[in-house]
């Protein structure tokens, strides 16, 4: 059939990724945790755990609980802060050759901008993902992510603070995520990513206490995939910048579902816990599908969902 190997590379703003598979924030440590088991260069990229300016302790255990086809977490953004990250982790990460996206947090617009500035001066940061959607901390994050004005302001401020590609990460806990994608685009974002976790609650019926110490937490995993695919579709329709889709991806089929729905690239979180060797399987499945369907470039598949009636 004369089909050559499909072109898996994707473009996210000025950033070119080798393929559309990105390890999601909070599910891949600082990357180094997985450097001994997989070659990080085979990923499109990875996103670090969320970083504030300073160190954070996170919530006390229990921090996770399994739910049907999913899990709730309230880690509370435990992290080493941006300076220790730059000094203690980044040099080692650079050696792996990984494409490194840093997930940044803030309790104020200024902190977001400050973190962005610090990282812009460091070597080896490919892009910034703006966590304005973590349901697990009271101050910061979600307060910007659940209000259109807040989203616009944070993205604008970070846009001024950095030349790096910026990717606001949107919450699914709103009526209309697409309007937040639009606000992000208007404020100068290079792409948006979604979904962060769904605010959720599990109760231990014997103790009548929440199953995790923080009370509520964020739901991730295959359970949420159908909602995440819907939101990815809606956002991709609403904006011209690339949309990075995620939520419950656990197989090449799922990757393809998001791409067809409109995602230019995808992130994988929870499934990496279940199978840290999933990446080569996803890549193989993706390549196989494109080859079988004679699709030359993964980009040609993006957003091709056909909503005409059967």
């Amino acid at each position: 059939m004369g089909v050559t190997t499909p072109d898996l590379s994707v473009q996210i703003g000025s950033l070119r990724l080798a393929n559309p598979l990105i390890a999601a924030s909070g599910c891949f440590g600082y990357g180094l945790e997985y450097a001994s088991t997989i070659d990080l260069r085979t990923l499109g990229g990875f996103v670090t755990k969320g970083l504030f300016m300073t160190e954070r302790e996170g919530h006390p255990p229990e921090r996770i609980v399994e739910t049907p086809s999913g899990m709730i977490n309230a880690i509370g953004l435990q992290g080493i802060g941006v300076h220790r990250f730059i000094n203690e982790r980044l040099p080692e990460i650079r050696k792996t050759g990984a494409t490194t996206i840093v997930n940044i947090c803030g309790t104020s617009i200024d902190e977001y901008a400050e973190v962005a500035r610090a990282l812009s001066q460091a070597e080896g940061v490919a892009a910034l993902e703006l966590n304005i959607s973590c349901p697990n901390i009271k101050e910061g994050g979600i307060q910007f992510g659940c209000h259109l004005g807040g989203t616009f302001d944070v993205v604008s401020a970070v846009r001024k603070a950095t030349h790096l590609p910026i990717i606001p990460k949107l919450t699914p806990n709103v009526t209309d995520p697409a309007s937040f994608a639009k606000a992000s685009e208007d404020a100068g974002a290079d792409a948006v990513s979604l979904v962060n976790t769904f605010l959720a609650l599990a109760i231990d019926i014997e103790t009548r206490k929440p199953a995790i110490s923080n009370g509520m937490g964020g739901l991730s995993g295959p359970a949420i995939r159908p909602i995440a695919v819907r939101m990815t579709y809606e956002c991709a329709k609403a904006v011209k910048i690339p949309v990075i889709g995620m939520g419950g991806i656990a197989s090449a089929r799922d990757v393809l579902e998001f791409l067809i729905a409109g995602a230019a690239a995808v992130q994988v979180g929870t499934a990496n816990f279940v199978d840290p060797f999933i990446w080569s399987k996803l890549l193989a499945g993706l390549t196989d599908y494109l080859t079988r369907h004679q699709i030359a470039r993964v980009a040609d598949l993006v957003g091709t969902v056909d909503f005409s009636k059967h």
Binding site: E57, G58, P61, E66, P68, N73, G221, D275
Partner: protein, 269 residues
């Protein structure tokens, strides 16, 4: 470096209505695992259950030439995964990621090693004893459980030269009460001997053993049990509060920095 093996079940021995020992064909894991390390296990396909669960490597299986061929897991039924492990049949396939975590640091003779196990906390000590025997380090197993029927593998440990000190809550065997009763008695008596403690079991037991060790000036390594989402350092669910030297604590991931910690480092809650 951990590997992921779709391990075949070689046998499933039911020790009691709740305890079973599962033998798994996993030469690559058996070949490199060290005493105190664990595996992340997923029985069955699909998303129910979704996440893997951590289990200590109980025994290392070897062929007649001594080549490692697999591992066993000592499992106690408490929920969905342990139920599936209890029901597993020969030939079933179980995903097994490992070996993971930091092993015990075992002492050399003439120092003695005292293993302290509570319930299913026995699991790491079979491989520990084999390693101690290889060194020639004298070994004692303090082993407590609800009652005599919940004490397993006593002959196994005896046959391999471990001295046993038992306790049961109902007094059916050994001391009546907690394992700390014989442990404290022997700590009191053992002045002059070099002794290191290795403990695994419920957290209140670990705390008690660790406090005893401190009181008697002994080093005590404990293997903690936290809910683990990944076993690889990815999720930050499994943290343990370690002393930060300033009267506070910092959270450390027990899957990669543990599960074995110096008991004196832990902030017991």
């Amino acid at each position: 470096m951990p590997v992921d093996i779709r391990a075949r079940v070689l046998s499933n021995a039911h020790l009691s209505p709740d305890y079973n020992v599962l033998s798994l064909a996993a030469p690559e894991i058996a070949a490199t695992c060290q005493p105190g390390q664990f595996v992340m296990v997923k029985p069955g396909r699909g998303t129910d259950p979704l996440l893997r669960r951590p289990f200590s490597v109980f025994e290392v299986l070897r062929d007649t030439a001594g080549v490692p061929t697999g591992i066993t897991i000592l499992s106690k039924r408490i929920g969905v995964t342990t139920n599936l492990l209890h029901q597993a049949a020969e030939g079933d396939l179980i995903d097994c990621l490992g070996p993971l975590g930091q092993p015990f640091a075992l002492v050399d003779p003439p120092a003695e090693a005292w293993m302290v196990a509570g319930g299913v906390g026995l699991a790491p000590f079979a491989t520990v004893l084999e390693a101690l025997n290889a060194k020639g380090t004298p070994a004692t197993l303090f082993y407590g459980a609800r009652s005599a029927a919940d004490l397993f593998y006593l002959d196994w440990f005896r046959d391999r030269g471990a001295r046993l000190a038992l306790a049961t809550e109902d007094g059916s065997v050994g001391d009546k009460g907690r394992i700390t009763i014989p442990l404290e008695r022997e700590l009191t008596a053992a002045t002059g001997k070099a002794v290191t403690l290795y403990a695994c079991g419920p957290e209140p037991m670990l705390e008690a053993v660790s406090n005893l060790a401190t009181r008697y000036g002994r080093r005590c390594e404990v293997s903690v049990e936290r809910i683990m989402g990944c076993g690889m350092g990815g999720c930050y669910s499994c943290v343990v509060p370690l002393k930060d030297g300033k009267g506070g604590h910092h959270f450390v991931r027990s899957c990669i920095n543990g599960p074995v910690f110096d008991g004196a480092e832990i902030v017991w809650e």
